[in-house]
């Protein structure tokens, strides 16, 4: 009787000990796997699906494209790849033109954001700690507010009967209301207005860490302030400049809301073309091909951003 109990106890303890041992060695996977698998399935693998569908053909059915892999009755697996969608991107010039136009718009908007954001970040970094936190909050608040609503708010200012034109007419600066809505200028204003906080925040993060003794040393050695800025401040803040510029540049290329609401028919950015291809023409294979081609061109800027971002996190 007693020996039976004695024998049973280790037998019961054994699985528990084994479980404990297993948890000790492999338990970390219980933490790593859920986010890893979720992002893998719902973020990364979708790109694979887009690639596959970009190689399919349009079909009148649900979903509106052909299967790439098909199994014939005699168990032969057929792989039908259709490169026509990618060829189409080069033959129809609307894709190339809208992509170049998006690049141009994003590039100049980024430059203007940098020109406006750098002095702002620099000024914030120079204030006292308590002022800093208030100013940062002021910058962060619009950062989280939706683009849609902020673009809509901007429309209230720049449209024909908006605040800007009312003020200019009242002051007698102009005699007819300025046409800003549905022009290229409106798209630029929209992007700069929406993305400015994305530029200021990373710039502030690097400028705040700037070692002031270096600036004092340069001044002591007789360097004029502008020289100190060019030789010391600017090179040291490069990681912030690049991170901020990429945070503006990359999403601005794919911007959809701003050119749609503020731009005219000429402001054909790639995001709008993609949207129309999907919801208007319902040509999913071509839209996937546009998205894949777009993504390939973004790999460089994204890699650049990741590189400087990790560098900044490590320091």
């Amino acid at each position: 009787m007693t020996s039976a109990i004695r024998d049973a106890a280790p037998a019961r303890a054994l699985p528990r000990a084994a479980l404990g041992e297993w948890l000790k060695r492999r338990g970390k996977w219980l933490i790593i796997l859920p986010p890893l698998l979720f992002l893998l399935v719902f973020f990364l693998i979708p790109f694979g699906f887009a690639l596959v569908i970009s190689l399919a053909d349009t079909a009148v059915r649900v979903p509106p494209f052909t299967d790439i892999l098909s199994v014939s009755p005699d168990w032969h697996i057929n792989l039908t790849l259709n490169l026509g969608n990618f060829k189409y991107l080069f033959t129809d010039e609307v894709y190339g033109l809208s992509y170049l136009y998006s690049l141009k718009t994003a590039f100049f908007s980024t430059l203007i954001c940098l020109a406006l954001g750098y002095p702002m970040a620099y000024a914030i970094a120079r204030t006292s700690k308590s002022t800093q936190s208030v100013l940062l909050l002021i910058i962060i608040l619009p950062f989280w507010t939706s683009f849609l609503l902020r673009v809509y708010a901007l429309e209230g200012i720049i449209r024909e009967t908006g605040l800007l034109n009312t003020a200019l007419l009242w002051l007698g600066v102009v005699h007819h209301p300025l046409q800003i809505m549905r022009t290229t200028l409106a798209v630029y204003l929209g992007i700069i207005y929406s993305y400015l906080p994305f530029m200021v925040l990373p710039l502030f993060a690097t400028l705040e860490k700037l070692d002031h003794s270096l600036l004092e040393a340069a001044a002591d050695l007789g360097s004029p302030p502008w020289r100190t800025f060019v030789d010391v401040t600017l090179p040291l803040s490069m990681p912030g400049v690049i991170a901020g510029s990429m945070l503006v540049f990359i999403p601005a290329i794919g911007e959809f809301v701003i050119p749609t609401l503020l731009g005219g028919p000429d402001n054909l950015m790639i995001g709008r073309v993609l949207w129309d291809e999907f919801f208007g023409n319902r040509d999913w294979p071509v839209a996937s091909a546009v998205a894949i081609a777009f993504l390939v061109l973004l790999v460089g800027p994204i890699a650049l951003y990741q590189h400087y971002n990790t560098k900044q996190l490590e320091s």
Binding site: G27, I31, I32, P34, P35, L36, F38, L39, L40, F42, F43, I45, P46, F49, A50, I53, L116, G117, P119, M120, A123, R126, T127, L135, I138, I140, L141, W144, T145, S146, F147, L148, L149, Y152, A153, L154, E155, G156, I157, R159, L163, T166, L196, V200, L247, I250, P251, I253, G254, F256, V257, T260, L261, G271, L274, A291, L295, L298, I302, T310
Partner: protein, 276 residues
Amino acid sequence: MENRISPFLITILCIGIAVLYIPILVLIGYSFNASSLVSVWGGFSTSWYTQLVHNTQILDAAWLSLKIGVVVSTGSVILGTLAAISLVRFKIFRGRLLLTGMVNAPLVMPEIITGITQLLLFISMLHLFGWPHRGFTTIVIAHIAFCSAYVTVTVQSRLAGADRSLEEAAMDLGSGPVRAFIDTTLPGIAPALASSWLLSFTLSLDDLVISSFVSGPGASTLPMVIFSKVKLGVSPDVNALASLVICLVGVCVLFAGHLMRRTERQRVLDAQMAER
């Protein structure tokens, strides 16, 4: 240092902040305009707000967006925190680089690309497995994918700065690693979790592009309804609705900022106590 800011810098800073805020303030101001002509001031009135209450399309969309927001931010905080723990605590594991990339990529990926690829996944999954039907479920999944990235980044920096000596002491006294983490480190990062919950909520509440792609017929979120109205031009009832959403988001962000600042102060205090 503080007294050497040039007037030029202060001017630019003021212009920048004015540029960021004037349109929003004007929008909120005009939402109280009694006149239905958006450019003429017809006196103070809250009639556009009372009209919203009777608009079932907007109420349905708002309710859907709030439900999605709550589920998304809860799911994002869980997944994002797990990802942050993985990246901070387990220095070497297979897939670390992959996880780092997948956590950072959604922050810069143009929404339109994420939206299209996720839609294609959901369509193919529905075709193959009969799940998920486009609507609530797909919007929640798509939002968690990008919101959890923001959670990870926020919690990661907090966790990396957390003092591990208490946790090690708990483990020396016989606590298991999970128990020790929950008892010592978790309370320290709890405000960061709460603030990333709020931020995920605002991100989800605001998202238009990804929702538009992955949503199905009959499931219109608040931004989708606003977008379809805004395309027709500026109107007073949208002014009122937009002001409400902006204020809700503003409160969430301010509260999140307050939580983060409080933990920061607490950490500085703790560090000072430890030095004594």
